[in-house]
């Protein structure tokens, strides 16, 4: 897997985990807004100096949560509007506190507990400090209301303190858990990448093994019997024909190795390898190519190069190798002083082999129709 693909995969895993976390917080805040906030507001509606004001405050919190829901669905973040949203949450709380006849942290006070959850939902991807600052700010706001406006006494302060344990404690716990979960998301992404890499390595190894098996199968018909014959001495290396077979098989092996190279023109690349085998034997080889041809599959290339390979492998001192791509045909030619050699027609039905000989020169041509 490339670095870019790895980075993409890692990012995808992290994004998925963070999205699920955000949806969970949204669900908790929505449940609290309705099950605690709205329910308490309706039950204790007689305890407010202005019920419409309470509805406005609740509506403002609901609007902020609705916006968070829309952003979550669209995979967007608050960006610069995050501050505005927190401001609206705190303003809604303060508005609610102003019309509470018995002050904060009473049964009628639905806003103190609800707003904390909504604030945590909005700040879910911010550092822990931001969430702590919000909770502390909101607590200070409620305490200010209690001390300045509601006429605090010892009982109400104690009630506020005991009430704050749950109201601040649960969101604080969640905020504290979100931060390590974000780290887990990153490490899960890394693990995912490792698993992907291991899977890719396994596939590469399996393909290499398959390719090796294919190569062995491809050599089974020609190279293996030759090697077996040389090993059990039924073939004599001093025999000219045996030496020719060896040269041809060496060319085939070289071509087989070259077939999997990533090059611009595999046909010319493989022919160069075949030419190199001849040059190592001291044969002067000219290679020239003209015109264009399409990308050719391995079986077509083998059909085109089988006979030229044999001619090159058995050339005595000189060979001219040419490729012409023109008029819907690609043809591979070898003219060489290779004497009479036995060549069979190419395996591909669209390929044809033609040979011509003068007394000292043989011309082998294989052509294949491209369209």
């Amino acid at each position: 897997m490339s670095d870019t693909a790895q980075a993409w995969s890692t990012t995808q895993v992290r994004i998925r985990m963070m999205f699920r976390l955000r949806v969970s917080l949204l669900a908790v805040a929505t449940t609290v807004l309705f099950a605690v906030g709205l329910r308490h507001m309706l039950i204790y509606r007689d305890a407010y100096s202005s019920v419409p004001t309470q509805f406005v405050a609740w509506g403002a919190l609901a609007a902020v949560l609705g916006a968070e829901a829309v952003l979550t669905i669209r995979r967007l973040t608050w960006r610069r509007l995050r501050g505005v949203a927190i401001g609206v949450v705190l303003a809604a709380s303060a508005t609610s506190y102003l019309t509470l006849t018995e002050g904060v942290a009473t049964y009628a006070d639905w806003a103190y507990g609800t707003a904390n959850w909504i604030g945590i939902a909005i700040l879910f991807d911010r550092p822990l400090q931001a969430q702590l600052a919000f909770l502390a700010g909101h607590c200070a706001l409620a305490l200010t209301d209690l001390l300045l406006l509601a006429g605090a006494d010892q009982a109400s302060i104690l009630r506020f303190m005991t009430g704050s344990v749950g109201v601040l404690g649960y969101p604080l716990c969640v905020a504290a858990v979100v931060v390590p979960l974000r780290a887990v998301a990153s490490s899960a992404a890394r693990s995912h990448r490792e698993v992907e890499r291991a899977r890719t390595d396994e596939q590469v190894a399996a393909e290499s093994a398959l390719r090796r098996r294919q190569r062995i199968t491809e050599l089974a018909d020609s190279t293996m019997p030759l090697l077996a014959g040389l090993a059990d001495r039924t073939l004599d290396p001093s025999d000219q024909r045996v030496r020719q077979r060896c040269a041809i098989e060496a060319g085939r092996l070289r071509r087989l190795m070259a077939e999997h190279d990533t090059v611009a023109d595999p046909l010319l690349h493989e022919l160069r390898h075949c030419a190199d085998i001849a040059e190592r034997r001291g044969v002067r080889v000219e290679l020239d190519a003209r015109g264009h041809w399409p990308d050719l599959s391995v079986p077509v290339r083998r059909s085109l190069t089988d006979a030229p390979l044999a001619a090159l492998a058995t050339a005595d001192s000189w060979a001219r190798v040419t490729v012409v791509g023109d008029g819907g045909l690609v043809s591979v030619n070898v003219v060489a002083d290779c004497g009479g050699i036995e060549l069979s027609q190419p395996a591909d039905p669209d390929a044809r082999l033609e040979t011509r000989s003068t007394k000292d020169m043989t011309w082998v041509e294989v052509w294949w129709r491209t369209k």
């Binding site: 020239d288 023109d326 003219v335």
Partner: protein, 223 residues
């Protein structure tokens, strides 16, 4: 022409090339006289070089700067030029043919092509070596001349086999007919390559081809 000793002036800055060509020419039958101008282009225009029958021209005395201008000047001054280049790319070869070089040989093509190319050029005929044949048969420019299927077959076979005997055998024609086809292709290229953007160029071509004579031209003016 048969009895006349052919002389050729070689422009090439490689001493080994000059020595090799000199050796081939001295062993040719009949021998060809070689004048070595080295990398001195002025020697083509003065002294014995100016009188040589054929100019053998290395296109790239300065690496990667083919001297098409000098080739154009030589052809314009009716010098018979064989381009001997180390490059085999399509574009360079076609441009030399268009500019009027009688032969374009790559340096991989040795005496078996250079000697007949110089002999043909001395007689004002073109010579097409296998490499140039491959260039012509795969020429896809819109301005290329139209070739018959047979001409294409001959060019292709000559390129791949580099043996006129093998071409003749494959196409079941005589070696002489092979040469006729190739010469006809070059004639078509010569016709297309001679651009005549002005009226004076047209008149010049007409004079070259013998369609009109100088006397006729003067008589026309006097009327």
């Amino acid at each position: 022409m048969a009895d006349k000793v052919i002389s050729a002036v070689l422009v090439d800055d490689h001493v080994a090339i000059a020595a090799g060509v000199g050796s081939w020419f001295s062993l040719a039958e009949p021998p060809i006289v070689l004048l070595n101008a080295g990398d001195r282009l002025p020697d083509l225009w003065t002294g014995p070089g100016a009188r040589a029958d054929v100019v053998i021209f290395d296109l790239e005395l300065v690496p990667r700067q083919p001297n098409f201008g000098e080739l154009r000047r030589l052809v314009k001054n009716r010098r018979r030029v064989v381009v001997y280049s180390q490059h085999a790319d399509q574009e360079t070869a076609l441009r030399c043919v268009d500019l009027g070089a009688l032969a374009y040989l790559t340096k991989r093509e040795g005496e078996e092509h250079l000697v007949p190319a110089v002999r043909a050029a001395a007689e004002g005929r073109s010579y097409t070596a296998p490499t140039l044949s491959g260039v012509l048969v795969t020429d896809e420019r819109p301005e290329r001349p139209s070739l018959t299927p047979r001409e294409r077959e001959v060019l292709r076979a000559w390129f791949v086999s580099s043996s006129k005997d093998l071409v003749a055998r494959k196409l079941d024609i005589s070696a002489k007919t092979v040469e006729t086809h190739i010469e006809r292709v070059r004639a078509k290229y010569a016709h297309v390559g001679r651009a005549a953007p002005t009226k004076s160029d047209l008149v010049s071509h007409a004079l070259d081809d013998g369609l009109i004579t100088l006397d006729e031209l003067t008589a026309q003016r006097d009327v």
